[in-house]
């Protein structure tokens, strides 16, 4: 009982009575006192009263039932429970603007957002939601990708069999693989459309030039993610695509053994940039392993970092660029200061 002391100023005590009007709280306190059989005003344990056995048993039982009922009343609104409040720091009160802001600010996933945005910025005709969809696809890819990793060995004798196993034996394995594949293709498309939108709205202009560059890096990483994933089934499609792709690296100027000035610098098939990419002079077991690690660890890690910067910069650059009020031709200063 000692954990529910009355606060001197009559404010409700912490716990499940929080938020109740003082009169109601007083009622509850009265009930609590009755159940503990203590005299008014004191909650410390005192000398037990002498009484008949019946009263001794019945009174506390009735009081306990009363108390249980009162407590149960408190649980009827789950948002008032200690458990709820420990998770959601802010009550979901529609009428209170402060709570709406706090709902965003106190949530780690939402706090990348500002609490409030320009009323026109939610128009999907403006951003087409393309950046957001691209990010969502990245999350889908991470999720399905991790699930695929449980079934896949990046080993020459096993990789192809794992794909067959996924397609025919793993529950929903085919769906999983298909989703990973199509989400990847879709992400390439949405990234391009997102970039296109940024151009059409002039959103790369000051002060967002740097974020545009971060975006370009993300575009390259997206394409590299797709490319490294292509080899992993270890089938003819991936093998030849990667062979064609990495053969170009032979011709890298200076760093490739068939590129301009490459041989003069001592480049051979066994030490040039292609060798470094493949871990060998042909697409084989080492290339599979390297592809796998780039695909599952290296590039996603780097991409996540760049995405974090991308989103951070959107905030720091003043949020989404528009829809901004139009500027008139005549308002442009002729010379740059």
């Amino acid at each position: 009982m000692a954990d529910r002391p009355d606060e001197p100023n009559g404010k409700p005590a912490a716990g499940n009575g929080d938020g109740k009007p003082p009169e109601e709280q007083a009622d509850i306190n009265k009930l609590l006192r009755a159940s503990s059989g203590l005299p008014e005003g004191k909650l410390e344990a005192v000398e037990p009263r002498r009484a008949g056995v019946v009263t001794k048993v019945r009174d506390p039982a009735v009081a306990l039932a009363e108390r249980a009922r009162a407590e149960f009343e408190g649980y009827k609104d789950p948002q008032q429970t200690q458990l709820w409040k420990s998770i959601f720091r802010v009550s979901h009160d529609r009428s209170d603007p402060r709570n709406r802001s706090l709902a965003v600010l106190s949530n780690v996933f939402l706090h990348l957002h500002p609490a409030k945005i320009n009323r026109d910025a939610v128009r999907y005709n403006f951003t087409w939601g393309m950046g957001g969809i691209t990010f969502y696809l990245f999350i889908v890819l991470t999720f399905t990708g991790v699930l695929l990793m449980y079934y896949y060995h990046p080993v020459k004798v096993q990789a192809f069999k794992d794909i067959l196993y996924l397609e025919h034996d793993v529950p929903f394995g085919k769906l999983l693989r298909n989703m990973h594949r199509w989400a990847a293709h879709l992400m390439v498309i949405t990234t391009w459309l997102h970039m296109f939108r940024v151009v059409l709205t002039g959103s790369y202009k000051r002060p967002r030039e740097f974020n545009w560059c971060v975006g370009v890096v993300l575009l390259v990483l997206t394409l590299l993610l797709s490319f490294t994933g292509y080899l992993l089934p270890d089938d003819q499609l991936g093998f030849w695509a990667v062979t064609v792709g990495t053969n170009m690296a032979r011709a890298t100027p200076l760093l490739g053994h068939e590129g301009p000035f490459g041989p003069q610098l001592g480049m051979t098939p066994f030490n040039d940039v292609r060798f470094g990419l493949l871990g060998g002079s042909i697409v084989d077991a080492n290339a599979l392993l390297r592809s796998y690690i780039w695909h599952c660890i290296g590039i996603p890690l780097v991409a996540s970092i760049f995405m974090a910067v991308h989103f951070w910069r959107i905030r720091k650059d003043g949020g989404i660029s528009g829809p901004a009020p139009v500027m008139l031709d005549s308002e442009m200063k002729p010379l740059r200061k």
Partner: protein, 370 residues
Amino acid sequence: MAMAIPRPRGASRKWVWLIVAVVVVGALALMVQDWHQLWKISSTPDNIPIVAMIPLVVFFTWLGFKQSRANDELIERLEADPQAAKTAHRKTLPWRPGWARELHVWPYLVRIEFMAALIVTIVLFVWSITLNAPLEEPANPNLTMNPSKAPWYFLGLQEMLVYFDPWIAGVVMPSLLIIGLMVFPYVDSNPLGNGYYSWRQRRFATGMFMWGFYMWIILIIIGTFIRGPGWIWFWPGQTWDHNAVVFDRNRDLHEIIAGWGLTKLNVYPWKAIFGGIVVGSFYLVGGLFFHWLMKRAQMSRETFRSWANFKRWATVPGELEMKILQRTSILQYLTFQFFAISILLAFPVKLLLRLLFTIKYVWVTPWFNI
């Protein structure tokens, strides 16, 4: 038909467009010899995304330009009426004095994000249930795939291999593309159109980007739908002939010129010097072309009414365009010119030289060929 109810002009023009479109599509359809081949290429699971992307790009271009037009009309109106410009809301979007400027992210944005995620998830599920990811035979280095194609989004690069040596197509061009994209915001000195759709105010910058964007997509379409076994050009609807051999009559530019009597061009160093001059002139002419292009005012129907109008358009620079050019620093200008000529112009020029005139190299040196 003097009694006919006057119809808005736009409506009848729509009909004309529809008929033209039907005729064109019909004519194209008649030229298809092998529907099965066309279907086989388009329905390959890995090609579905590019098949889907074409209408998506068309749709979003339309969506962007629809908004540009609305904004451009607003700008024109405000430009003509300085008093209105001071008081107007300056957006095409509705606005009432009492409205709050800002909205709470929770729930107004979060619920949109949630719906978008839901829709994307449903699309992915449907797509993944109906269409299986491809899986070929196990990798076999001894059995070459023909044609051996990269995934569709890299076919632009692979197609470039036809026109340039691997070190240019595979290394230099992609690097230039990436760096070119990165410098894009830094060479655009036009402060107008920041945060709203507009064509009128940023025709050159938007146009240059779209030139590159569409060129890239066209290269992908060529690589996907037109290149068959042996990377040979098969028109869409033509049967892929796995035994087809094309006898490349490709010559180098200097050989053609030498054939006209300048036999010296067949030997070094003249060969290399000649190529250098050709490439140098290309940059010069290209630079003049872009310089001319960036100063052009917007075309209108008036431009094509008379030859005099057209001549005026082609020779008298636009006012807005000159203001933007004045704001451009020399470094910005030169950087733009370099990337524009090396990517936006070099690409189609080399493509046409190769496809129409079967010219392989324009510059042959002992170290590299372009």
